[in-house]
């Protein structure tokens, strides 16, 4: 045991001290933060409020101009097209909307002038504003009040509640999906990155020819376990660093560029140009959205302790399982190119789980396929973690899945140990599957 510890220590220290590890630890969180920050930054940098001049010859907007929306505001200019064009040129408006005298039942002849082309978003917004105005006029003509119509429209929020043996709990499919993906993806990435590191480590020892020196002091099994555990430590360290650093960086960033702040900035500018009072209900709506989100988080009732516990279990269990198999592959081959034929069947279930996750796991987290995948040890680390956030996984399924994963990795480590002890002493020989299976039954 103390020898396993010594080996794990060496594996851990040599890797953690590598420059590549330090760089990855710093870049990881930066990338994560960048993923969120870049869209915000781009939004911040995109030019501010566009102003559309309206030459309303037809009196469509007689009552009032459309409200400023997003970063578009409207301003009224002379209804005469020629003067309007002159004003448009002088005031550097972004677009000029000309509304001709029109027949409200068959309106046409609208024109939009712009200097550089409109852009999809602006054209769509103008179009919508005009459509609205036309609809309003028609409604008026038909004697229907706009507010009455608005009241008739329905916009219902579905509160999703999962019913299970433990009782009801409200859930939020959106949040659950997010958590499921994050957990599944982390496990997937972790197994791949660090599993391959185990394989490389074994191959390095083999090609460096140090392996025989080492196994005259320790059992091959101890060497393999030490390596698997040491590299697991590296992975956990990296994960912890990422979490801490990501949180650190994002909390710093959040102060300067939270989405709300940017939205406020933008609105302030827009209103300044449009000189239209900011409607009260808008900010109210926004607050409402935030409240909805936090409420959703609360409502999702994710059973955080269970999720975190299971995440750590499947994270470690999946890694140990695959790590042992990767170690066995590394011991059986002489060079990276030879690994392909053995890598395929091992990584297939992993890739498959991740690929079908969207189609099956998150859309039907308690269906037949999801059930079997979350029980079978090669796929369960990802599949179960993608089911759990949706709730409704019976305890017996979770227990069975965990027991099978433990049995699976004990079996995998036994299997890998058998292959490993023969493979590491085998040089310059192309190994086939038949050969591998023979190794399993070699004595001592």
């Amino acid at each position: 045991m103390s020898k396993i510890w010594l080996i794990a220590q060496r594996e851990y220290l040599t890797r953690v001290r590598k420059k590549s590890f330090i760089i990855m630890s710093l870049i990881g969180p930066l990338l994560t933060v960048a993923l969120f920050a870049v869209p915000v930054l781009i939004a911040k940098m995109s030019d501010s409020g566009k102003v559309v001049a309206v030459a309303d010859a037809g009196g469509l907007f007689a009552g009032k101009l459309p409200e400023a929306k997003d970063d578009i505001s409207f301003t009224r200019v002379s209804s005469d097209l020629v003067t309007a064009k002159a004003e448009f040129n002088k005031a550097k408006y972004d677009a000029l909307l000309y509304i001709p005298k029109l027949d409200i039942s068959n309106p046409n002849g609208f024109q939009v002038f712009s200097r550089k082309g409109l852009g999809m978003a602006l054209e769509r917004d103008i179009n919508r504003a005009v459509n609205n105005a036309v609809e309003n006029q028609r409604l008026q003509k038909a004697g229907i009040d706009r507010t009455v119509l608005d009241n008739l429209k329905a916009d219902v929020d579905l509160q999703t509640v999962s019913l299970s043996d433990e009782g009801e709990r409200s859930s939020s499919t959106g949040i659950s999906t997010g958590v499921a993906y994050a957990a599944g993806f982390l496990i997937y990435i972790f197994i791949f990155i660090y599993g391959v590191q185990i394989m490389r480590g074994v191959m390095e020892e083999k090609t460096n020819r140090i392996v025989e020196v080492v196994i005259s002091s320790v059992k091959p099994f101890q060497l393999m376990m030490g390596k698997v555990l040491g590299i697991a430590g590296v992975g956990f360290t990296q994960l912890a660093l990422w979490v801490v650093l990501s949180m650190g960086i994002s909390s710093v960033m959040a102060g300067s560029m939270s989405p709300e702040k940017i939205a406020e900035d933008r609105m302030a500018r827009t209103t300044a140009v449009a000189r239209v009072d900011t409607p009260q209900d808008k900010s109210a709506k926004k607050e409402n959205m935030m409240a909805q989100f936090t409420q959703a988080l609360d409502n999702a009732d994710l059973n955080v302790p269970l999720l975190v516990g299971c995440f750590l279990f499947y994270f470690l269990g999946g890694y140990l399982f695959y790590g042992a198999l990767f170690g066995a592959i590394g011991s059986a081959v002489d060079s990276e190119t030879d690994t392909q034929q053995f890598m395929m069947p091992v990584t297939m279930p992993l890739v498959l789980t991740f690929v079908v996750s969207q189609a099956i796991l998150t859309t039907n987290p308690n269906g037949q396929v999801a059930f079997w995948m979350s029980i079978f040890p090669l796929t369960s680390p990802i599949a179960m973690m993608m089911r759990l956030p949706f709730g409704g996984v019976p305890m017996w399924q979770l227990g069975l899945s965990m027991a099978l994963l433990i049995a699976g990795f004990v079996g995998a480590i036994w299997l890998a140990g058998r292959i490993y002890r023969v493979g590491i002493l085998m040089y310059g020989k192309k190994v086939t599957y038949g050969e591998l299976s023979k190794w399993l039954f070699y004595k001592g």
């Binding site: 020819r209 025989e212 020196v213 002091s217 070699y442 004595k443």
Partner: protein, 316 residues
């Protein structure tokens, strides 16, 4: 002398060939023991059993009379034929790691590493990465790694392959010095001539069976052929039933070289007969001692008359 290691009827079978077929031998304490035989004879298989890398199918290994078990690992030092070091590790750390794997404590290991680095005058390398050292330097580190834990049994598998001549000599000196300190050394090689002058005992292995073993002098005596080499000048005429000329070579200026077997009598009788006539001047007279390689070939031919040694194992 009490043996440090005994192999009793050791057998090892791989999928489609027998590596060891009932090999028994004794390695005496404080001696240099040559484990000799051509490639593929089973030497490495036997060593891997002694170093507990693999287990024997049958038979037993005893270390100082005890059945071999993991507690003996720290008393054995092993330089495998396939050897290497972690390239990206510092010399000092690497030696520390390997010493600790052998089961010695950190402070003790530190002292021993320091001692060895000083002994080889390479103290300044301790903080260098292995990959920054020359091949010869790496070989020194490799050797220190083998003996850093002061093993009482050192096993060297083909020790001179891969070592440059300077390091090979250093290795020889160190091996002799270790014997002085009471350690036992097992040499395994297919280049028999490279070790025969150092070995006290040998065992010859061929085709997974032990062919012959014993103290070197005794083995040689047993295979003496009563053949003598004679060099000199003049007209050598041997016409005596007791002496048989095996080879006769004329050289320039009337010099000759002969190999003569004594069928009956003593070397003194031969020498007396040669100088008797007075027309011959003798410059050299010595026994033609069979090399271990010749003994091996003869011994093997006793059971396999058609045996042709592969070029690898032929003495140059």
């Amino acid at each position: 002398m009490k043996p440090i290691l005994q192999a009793l009827d050791v057998r090892k079978q791989y999928a489609n060939h027998t590596a060891l077929d009932g090999v028994s031998l004794e390695v005496p304490e404080g001696a240099i023991f040559g484990l000799l035989g051509p490639n593929g004879a089973g030497k490495t298989s036997l060593i891997r059993i002694i170093t507990q890398i693999t287990g024997a199918d049958a038979g037993e290994i005893r270390f100082r009379g005890e059945k071999l078990n993991p507690s003996h690992i720290g008393q054995i030092g092993y330089l495998p034929e396939e050897r290497g070091l972690y390239k990206k590790m510092k010399v000092g750390e690497q030696l520390m790691y390997l010493a600790q794997l052998k089961g010695i404590g950190k402070s003790e290991a530190q002292q021993k590493i320091k001692g060895w680095l000083e002994r080889f005058d390479i103290k300044s390398w301790a903080d260098k990465n292995i990959e920054d050292l020359s091949k010869g330097m790496q070989q020194k580190v490799q050797f220190i790694a083998t003996v850093v834990h002061d093993p009482s049994l050192v096993i060297l598998d083909e020790p001179f392959s891969g070592f440059d001549p300077i390091n090979a000599n250093l290795l020889k000196d160190e091996i002799l010095a270790m014997r002085e300190r009471g350690a036992s050394i097992i040499f395994s090689t297919h280049r028999m001539e490279s070790v025969e002058e150092m070995c006290d005992y040998i065992a010859l292995i061929n085709r997974s069976k032990k062919v012959l073993d014993g103290p070197v002098r005794q083995v040689r005596d047993a295979y003496r052929t009563q053949t003598y080499e004679v060099e000199g000048r003049g007209q050598l005429m041997v016409m005596h039933p007791d002496f048989e000329v095996i080879e006769h070579k004329e050289r320039e200026n009337g010099h000759f070289y002969d190999r003569i077997r004594i069928v009956h009598g003593t070397p003194n009788d031969l020498l007396r007969y040669l100088i008797g006539p007075g027309n011959v001047e003798i410059h050299a007279f010595r026994e033609r001692v069979p090399s271990i390689n010749e003994i091996f070939i003869r011994r093997v031919r006793e059971t396999q008359p058609d045996y042709v040694p592969d070029t690898d194992s032929v003495l140059v």
